[in-house]
Symmetry: C2
Subunit: 243 residues, 2 copies
DNA sequence: ATAATTTTTTAGGTATGGCTAAATGCTACT
DNA sequence: AGTAGCATTTAGCCATACCTAAAAAATTAT
């Protein structure tokens, strides 16, 4: 009742989990986009996953899907496998951080529970993948992530890069080049007038760096609390759910 | 024209290659047994693989299949991946030699060419998997294997264990227990009368050890040439083919 | 409120790769 | 040479998971 699940099922659960982290329900269209299939295919699959025993998600017509606790458990297993594999490929096999995602995407469906555990042991239970995304714990709790997109920071505010999106290898190479990587301390400068670009200062040299909004919204930071200011973004517990 | 191939296709090519190592053609029934599917399914699949472009095997009704050079290339890729993974799981992740086969069986379909190469680099291009089976080289040549089943040795003959079958974890645990592992030097003693068991002497102590024929035929050894005796088993080049 | 637009669902099809049952072809024996 | 027994193939079917095109529902704009 818990070991199996086709690769397609695993892929659906994974993206539904991730979509639900932002919007509380995952719509047919969003899932279709993420998986690169047509919305019609998604409708069919959602029905199947909702009707399976035990149900992996709950689905109501025209209102998308939410995972059941069982579905979420499976989703977290895949996500843990994926992120552990990314760490492993990066740390042990010397993969660049823009190469790990694609490879892990295929391997995540093939590794067994014991193999996942051995990898985690070897790496001493890492907490983040190479892009800074939190790794669900051994007992499948998703650590809280209180980061916000860089472009939502208030000008003048200091922050620390927590994680970056791992989807686009080109973006990752660019970010590595400009050293905008997890752990980087930065300050958001005043915006350019008539521009959707963002100005930052960070690193050893005192240069201001300008990045496009398309990039900025893929970089997630933890704002530093400023004295006397109520936290605009209090650390909300994300991805928690009662089981 | 060479990257893809479904998992089922890969499984078929792999077992056809292995069956053809012994018998020059692989029969429908043998393939079905190895894959755990019905002969009817095999017939259907062989037709498909023979009709594909490029053809991966040649198939004639009632006469089974042989791989084409292209099919053999793919088979050797999978076998190389499988055996590299076994080494990796064993050497780097501390798997026992009876655990590696099953895990590698799933992973072999998921790893990319580059990942295979990185693993081979990390392990410094190993020549044998943990059970002693030869690993196809980087350019997909299968190294010659001139070993013979232990039970085909002439009584009194000395030999060195080359490899053991990796199929049965229980057998592997047993062999590890009695230290009948690749590299072991041994002498075949006179057979027991009225018995299909085999008597051996090896290891530090001078004890004779008795193993059943069922075990003996799964252990492959390289006989030592005895002075004045023409080699009964000359080293034949196995698995070679012009491309 | 109604119309236009977008999203989602339904209906009907395709390709893979399995299965069973029945028919056919091979092989070995008398 | 005929036939029994085994291996193989054919025929017809099932499940998964995808697709397209058309219908229906929801959302947005007028």
């Amino acid at each position: 009742m818990s070991g199996l699940a086709t690769q397609a099922t695993q892929d659906y659960l994974k993206v539904i989990y991730q979509v639900c982290e932002d919007h509380s329900r995952a719509s047919t269209g969003q899932i279709a986009d993420e998986l690169g299939v047509t919305p019609a295919s998604v409708t069919g699959m959602l029905k199947k996953l909702a009707a399976s025993e035990p149900a992996l998600l709950s689905y109501r017509k025209h209102q998308g899907a939410v995972l059941t606790p069982e579905g979420e458990r499976l989703a977290l297993q895949i996500i843990r496998s994926h992120r552990l594999l990314e760490c492993f490929l990066h740390d042990t096999l010397g993969y660049a951080w823009d190469e790990v995602h694609e490879e892990a995407e295929r391997l995540e469906h093939a590794i067994s529970g014991p193999l996942g555990r051995r990898i985690a042991d070897l790496l001493q239970e890492p907490e983040h993948d190479p892009h800074g995304a939190p790794i669900p714990t051994r007992d499948l709790q998703m650590p809280a992530d209180c980061s916000v997109p860089l472009d939502e920071l208030t000008p003048g505010q200091d922050a620390c890069v927590k994680r970056v999106s791992d989807r686009d290898p080109q973006l990752l190479r660019y970010l590595a080049e400009i050293s905008l990587i997890p752990g980087t301390e930065l300050t958001l400068l005043q915006p350019l007038p008539f521009s959707d670009h963002v100005r930052l200062r960070y690193g050893g040299d005192n240069e201001a760096i300008i990045i496009s909004a398309r990039v900025a919204c893929q970089v997630f930071v933890i704002p530093h609390q400023r004295a006397g200011e109520a936290g605009k973004h209090d650390c909300l517990i994300a991805g928690e759910q009662l089981t």
